[in-house]
């Protein structure tokens, strides 16, 4: 089990590394902006200057896609952070007391198809990175609340919580000192898996035109605008497509590997 989880973790890290390391380096240089337009060199084939060729605007495809990957991951990461912070807080409250309202709202989130929130959000606020981030965060929230609540509950029924309570500790102290540290590993795993989901969402929303607006490169938008070239310039579709898959697969496997590793550690610890 441990060997397998290590392998999953390793493959996940490699996939992420392939995309994220160069993406970060490139973004450090260009600040997340699209590479320069060069109309004279449109659809250039791969060359030392442009390792993967250029796009219909003569922009370097590799730089464009990697910058897009960085931007997508940034949006995904911010939304997952938001969902984790708010969701954990609400989940802890819901665990501590019968919070029907919070759980009801979580149910509401489950009933609202994600793209709907995004469509309402984006049309109300206009296409913006902020709106998209909020939309992704909002539909990651219900799961976060539920998972936190469930995990916190399993801690709260332990004897030492009762002991701590008898010692006069307040709920805030118990949450901070006992519950939070215990569920932190779980939250980390959940966040990693959520990242995969958030990247998928970002790609879908941008593909539908509900994502962050141009000119900042974005993977879903790149696919939407390049897809008519599937016959004449298949690289234009393949590269952003593979990049999305690497990212999502990478975060999924990383999360799974982390979970397996943690399970193994947990079992070793208890037996």
């Amino acid at each position: 089990m441990t060997a397998r989880s290590n392998r999953t973790l390793r493959v996940g890290s490699i996939l992420l590394g392939i995309v994220l390391l160069p993406a970060t380096v490139i973004t450090l240089f260009n600040g997340g902006h699209a590479p320069p337009i060069d109309v004279l060199h449109r659809y250039a084939p791969p060359s030392p200057l442009h390792p993967l060729g250029t796009d219909p605007f003569g922009r370097d495809l590799m730089v464009h896609v990697l910058t897009g990957a960085f931007n997508s991951v940034t949006i995904a990461a911010i939304s997952v952070c938001l969902a984790t912070i708010v969701g954990t807080a609400l989940g802890l409250i819901a665990a501590a007391r019968p919070a029907r309202t919070i759980m009801g709202l979580a149910d509401l989130g489950l009933a609202f198809p994600p793209v709907l929130i995004a469509a309402l959000f984006v049309t109300a606020l206009g296409a913006s990175a902020t709106g998209e981030t909020l939309a992704i965060a909002l539909f990651g929230l219900p799961a976060q609340i539920r998972i936190t609540r469930q995990a916190a509950r399993s801690i709260l029924i332990q004897d030492y919580i009762a002991a701590s309570r008898l010692a006069g500790r307040g709920p805030f102290y118990i949450m901070r000192r006992h519950v939070l540290p215990n569920i932190l590993p779980l939250l980390t795993i959940q966040a990693t898996s959520s990242l995969a989901l958030a990247i998928l969402s970002d790609a879908g929303l941008s593909y539908l035109g509900l994502g962050a607006p141009p000119p900042r490169p974005d993977l879903g938008r790149a696919l939407a605008s390049y897809q008519i070239h599937i016959f004449d310039h298949p690289l234009l579709v393949a590269i952003p497509g593979i990049t999305i898959i690497f990212l999502v697969l990478g975060f999924n496997m990383f999360g799974d590997g982390l979970r397996d590793a943690l399970d193994a550690a947990y079992e070793e610890h208890t037996l």
């Binding site: 109309v39 605007f57 206009g126 035109g209 141009p214 008519i228 070239h229 004449d232």
Partner: protein, 498 residues
């Protein structure tokens, strides 16, 4: 006041719509036709909306007016057999064809004409060209087949305006239901409309004119060029006027069934600038922006190099087109100098708003990149059509926007008040006044050239490019419009060659 609203091009690369596969493809005597269109009309009443898509489906098929434009853009009579204009240009007399029935069986009379044209000009009219019809002083009916229209003042373009789809003659009994069930006098009657998918017209058995050869025609709404090209290659579509993607046209090269036919349409892509606000109110800034953009490269990227540089607001195919020199060629250094002179500091923020259409999106991205090179920081703001229509076109609240005007001969919009880009020029106004008051063709042509020159010099907007219209169609198809002098796709004269 002479107003000519714009029609918006429909080269949308928006959400794909669908088609119906598998129409019968009988080898010899086909009498059906399926045509792909990029945009679906919101309704079918031309007096209630300005969408080009309404015209594409109904113009000359369902609705007919007193006059019509032919494929070359020439003015021809339609419901009117003949006409006569009084020497003072105020009275227009028309003689109608006899025995013309609407699809609801009512007879076309002078009263129908009077009803339709007066209705178009009332204050609560929703007609896109209301201001044209509001210039009618009165209409009298000497008898049921004669119409006499008196204008308030001479208006040289009046006859031309009567050829537009929104000047269609409608049946007073069915006018309210036209939006979903259109009734006209045309060679085709409304069949079925599956919204989001297709619309079918069938032959009008009682048509007053020549009997159309086609039994039915189906318009399929497919904005996605990739699916459209697939449907064409699979034979599910027979024709696609104004194919929305140049890049994909190569798929039809050498095809034995399909051909790509090049035609013209009055497409004028512009970078509209808000002349009412700083810094665009300064002529030097407008000139700087024009010189900062390599429009030739723009054509290269947006239209695969297949387009014409525009110098003014007139399409090259227009008979009145004046070939003008490139007054503000690409020169970023000069642009920077001009900006400095005008006091626009490097790093000034500007917003470029654009509607969801391929050419606008691509041009905007490029223009932003070019403007960045002369020190301006451009925020791109993509908006949906309603927002564009409301905010930019309706209220004139914007910095810059990319849009293509596709109405024929619409240079007079630069004389409108208000107009969304807020251009005012007494000189230009004088020219338009003269133009409308003149009936003489040669004189009108001269005046038109002067108007174009005036705009080219003032550069209220940056005139970008015109692109040809590419129609993909079955090689055996005869008589389909490949030019688009006006939004329409009349199919009465279309037939299949054996």
């Amino acid at each position: 006041m002479k107003t000519v609203p714009i029609l918006l091009t429909v080269l949308a690369v928006g959400f794909p719509v669908s088609h119906i596969p598998g129409t019968a493809r009988a080898a010899d005597t086909r009498d059906t036709l399926s045509i792909g269109l990029a945009i679906e009309p919101p309704g079918l009443d031309p007096t209630r909306g300005s969408s080009e898509a309404i015209g594409m489906v109904t113009y000359g098929n369902i609705y007919e007016g007193l006059m019509r434009l032919d494929e070359q853009g020439a003015l021809k009579p339609l419901l009117a057999q003949e006409w006569h204009i009084s020497p003072d240009g105020l009275i227009y007399d028309f003689t109608l064809h006899d025995g013309v029935h609407f699809h609801d069986s009512t007879l076309l009379t002078c009263d129908s004409v009077k009803f339709s044209l007066l209705r178009a000009g009332t204050t609560d009219s929703t007609n896109p060209h209301r201001t044209v019809f509001s210039q009618i002083a009165n209409i009298s009916c000497p008898d049921s087949l004669h119409v006499s229209i008196r204008l308030q003042h001479p208006y040289g373009s009046f006859l031309y305006q009567l050829a537009w789809n929104d000047a269609a003659i409608l049946s007073p009994t069915s006018v309210t239901q036209n939006i979903s069930h259109p009734i006209g006098t045309g060679p085709f009657v409304f069949g079925e409309w599956r919204r989001g998918d297709h619309l079918t017209l069938t032959r009008n058995p009682d048509y007053w004119g020549a009997r159309p050869t086609l039994q039915s025609v189906t318009f399929r709404f497919m904005p996605d060029p990739l699916s459209a090209s697939n449907a064409l290659l699979a034979g599910e579509l027979d024709a696609y006027p104004s194919f929305p993607s140049r890049e994909i046209l190569s798929r039809f090269a050498g095809n034995t069934q399909l051909q790509v036919v090049r035609g013209s349409f009055p497409f004028k892509a512009i970078l509209a600038l808000n002349n009412a606000q700083r810094p665009f109110s300064d002529f030097r800034v407008r000139q700087a922006i024009a010189q900062a953009i390599d429009r030739k490269a723009l054509i290269q990227a947006v239209a695969d190099g297949d387009g014409t540089l525009l110098q003014s607001h007139m399409a090259p195919d227009d008979p009145d087109y004046a070939a003008l020199p490139d007054r503000y060629p690409y020169d970023p250094d000069h642009a920077r100098a001009l900006l400095k002179e005008a006091g626009v500091a490097p790093g000034t923020h500007l917003t470029l708003t654009f509607p969801p259409i391929g050419y606008a999106r691509d041009s905007s991205e490029l223009i932003a990149a070019y403007l960045e090179q002369v020190g301006l920081i451009v925020t791109l703001q993509p908006v949906e059509w309603p927002t564009w229509l409301g905010q930019v076109y309706g209220q004139g609240q914007f910095d810059m926007t990319v849009i293509a005007h596709t109405e024929p001969h619409d240079i007079a919009i630069y004389d409108r008040t208000p107009v969304y880009f807020h251009y005012h020029s007494p000189v230009f106004h004088g020219l338009v006044e003269q133009y409308e008051a003149t009936a003489d063709k040669v004189r009108r042509h001269q005046l038109s050239a002067q108007m174009q020159e005036q705009l080219a010099q003032d550069e209220p907007n940056v005139f970008l490019f015109a692109i040809p219209r590419e129609t993909v169609m079955n090689r055996r198809l005869k008589g389909l419009w490949t030019n688009q002098p006006i939004a329409g796709c009349p199919v009465a004269g279309v037939s299949w060659a054996p």
